[in-house]
């Protein structure tokens, strides 16, 4: 058995689904945040797979790999800002659970 594009896409789809399910079901903001990162990394995995399997003139398609770099950087920036906000919230409310974030009516 050789690994084909479909295998990678399947794993990436699974990662995306796990991430999305985590965002919907988990109650701890830090874990929700980790699940969000998982979704971005699912996209990264499939981008790299597409780049590797759809050769352009015998070389991988580097457009996708550059896009992956940018996604990693943006995710890091998002994490930095996100953790700062979560730490600020924790200092104000002593909680990281979404049920406790209810001072604004939904």
């Amino acid at each position: 058995m050789t690994l084909t594009l479909n295998h990678y896409l399947f794993v990436s789809g699974l990662l995306f689904a796990i991430g999305f399910a985590g965002v919907m079901l988990r109650r701890n903001i830090i874990i929700i945040f980790m699940c969000l990162e998982l979704m971005l990394n699912a996209a990264n995995l499939s981008l790299v797979a597409f780049s590797r399997f759809n050769l352009v003139n015998g070389l991988p398609n580097y457009n996708a790999q550059v896009l992956v770099f940018f996604i990693i950087t943006v995710a890091a920036a998002e994490v930095a800002v996100g953790l700062a906000i979560i730490v600020a919230l924790f200092r104000a409310r002593q909680t990281t659970h979404v049920e406790d974030i209810n001072s604004l009516k939904f």
Binding site: F16, L36, M39, N63, F70, A77, A92, L104
Partner: protein, 506 residues
């Protein structure tokens, strides 16, 4: 003639300069920073008319659409900075700091960075640049929404916006991934070329597009992705709420217009995407306008109303047709509606900030008897509300007219029907504010003082709402001649260049 990119670079340098001045200055009064930014951004609005039309490249388009949305971004940022000056006393209360001005400098410089992101987005024609500029805007907004660290509502709004914004980014990126996988390109023109020349499987393409629409649906607050809007709008600092409702929406729609263009001509895909958009438009109009009816908090009311307006804009996006007339063109309708929406929304938030500062609250009852306390503010708010409701001779009326004309042109009569019903609902809640201002007795009768800069901005916006409503022809002619309508109408045609990689030269 100046290269177009120099506008964005100037804005970025301005932001960096403001951060450096903020970190080195010993002064507590940071208002000079904001005033400097307002001056430079105003100058850039002028400079933007002298842009070299040939200075684009494969990532970065220089066309009428880009110019139009750049001017919108600059004007919005200027008004937001004026609002921030007015709001700084409230802000200072909720910021921990050893000195009185601590943290205010960043509050003035972050909107400048957001503005740079919005301007890049107006020109972005490659998924790479679209993604990075969209994130520049979104991440700055995360910080700005959660800016008042001693105010629980602001922090909670920040966390909600953060999680749902990051979720929408995930969907957007995954959608981009699938479209890249099918076409092998990230450039929109190259994607269009690839779709026209290669056979591409329809189902995965639709899957990718739906993911993309989900991501963008969050940004423009379309039903069913609108859940974050009321809480975030209510909790965020008021100038940022205004920025979110105008800037974020304009950016979402310009990206939507650009991104959809390559796919509309693909058989079996374009029709389905437009059908989904039409359904979203109908639901968004209904939800926004009906949920606004029972609101008592003014910011929350404007949040629901902004969802409603996203619905009208989606009607225009869903009504692409191949007409060459100004009247009935979807691109012109979106651009004009957004411009009008910007004017009236910024006007109502500007008045709200002044009133809220004097009445210590932003509920509708705080507007009671405003006509007696300040006829000027009451008239400005009256203008904004009439325009938001869509009364003739205001910008809002003409915008809705163009949107519905586009829908009729595309044969979507049911959307027009729902639209007219929801406009009627809108009259009720917008006129509640007017009734409170003119027919209720004021709670306290102290006259309201307005800073000269704010007074000028309110006056200019009020005037502009009427100018857009009474004689819109010159503006429409600009949009038409500039080719804003061409954004959508050459959908399906192959790009100009043969290799499809560098359609804008360079």
């Amino acid at each position: 003639m100046i290269p177009s990119l120099s506008l964005e670079i100037t804005v970025l340098l301005l932001g960096i300069l403001m951060l450096l001045v903020e970190s080195f200055s010993r002064s507590d009064d940071k208002r000079g920073l904001a005033k400097m930014a307002i001056g430079i951004l105003s100058a850039l609005v002028g400079f933007s008319f002298f842009v070299d039309p040939a200075s684009g490249n494969a990532f970065y388009a220089v066309d009428a659409t880009a110019h139009f949305f750049k001017v919108l971004a600059l004007l919005t940022t200027i008004v937001v900075l004026i609002m921030s000056l007015e709001y700084s006393s409230v802000l200072a209360k909720y910021l921990p700091g050893v000195t009185p001005g601590a943290g205010l400098g960043e509050f003035y410089s972050l909107p400048v960075f957001t503005c740079a992101g919005l301007m890049f987005m107006a020109s972005a024609v490659d998924f790479l640049l679209i993604f990075v500029s969209l994130e520049l805007v979104t991440i700055s907004f995360y910080i700005l929404v959660a800016y008042m660290r001693r105010h629980t509502a602001s922090l909670e709004a920040g966390v909600k916006y953060l999680i749902l914004g990051a979720l929408s980014t995930g969907f957007l990126v995954y959608g981009i991934t699938w479209i890249f996988g099918l076409t092998g390109e990230t450039n929109l023109a190259a994607i269009q070329h690839a779709l026209a020349t290669k056979a591409v499987a329809t189902t995965p393409l639709l899957f990718g597009l739906m993911l993309l629409l989900t991501g963008l649906g969050f940004k423009v607050a379309a039903v069913p992705f609108q859940l974050w809007v009321p809480d975030v709008y209510q909790g965020a600092p008021t100038p940022i709420t205004a920025f979110l409702s105008v800037g974020s929406k304009a950016a979402g729609f310009v990206v939507l217009l650009r991104v959809l263009q390559p796919f509309l001509g693909v058989p079996g895909v374009g029709v389905k995407v437009l059908a989904v958009l039409a359904l979203m438009a109908a639901l968004t109009m209904l939800y926004g306008n009906l949920a606004a009816l029972p609101q008592d908090n003014f910011k929350r009311l404007l949040a629901y109303s902004s969802i409603g307006h996203a619905g009208y804009l989606l009607v225009a996006v869903a009504s692409v047709s191949d007409t060459k007339a100004t009247f009935g063109s979807a691109g012109v309708a979106v651009a004009f509606y957004l411009a009008g929406y910007l004017l009236m929304t910024l006007l109502s938030f500007l008045v709200l900030i002044v009133v809220a500062r004097h009445s210590r609250g932003d509920d509708i009852l705080h507007f009671n008897g405003l006509a007696k306390r300040s006829p000027f503010l009451a008239f400005a708010m009256l203008t904004a509300m009439l325009s938001l409701a869509g009364v003739p001779f205001t910008a809002g009326f003409y915008g809705k007219l163009l949107v519905f004309a586009a829908a009729v042109q595309a044969g979507k009569f049911w959307l027009v029907g729902i639209g007219i019903l929801t406009v009627a609902a809108g009259f009720y809640y917008y006129l509640r504010i007017v009734a409170a201002m003119y027919w209720q007795e004021p709670g306290d009768t102290t006259p309201i003082t307005i800073a000269p800069l704010t007074r000028t901005a309110i006056g200019a916006l009020t005037l502009a709402v009427f100018v857009f409503g009474i004689c819109p022809q010159p503006i429409l002619r600009q949009l038409k001649d500039g080719g804003v309508s061409a954004v959508q109408e050459n959908a399906g045609k192959p790009p100009q260049s043969a290799d499809g990689l560098r359609p804008w030269g360079v």
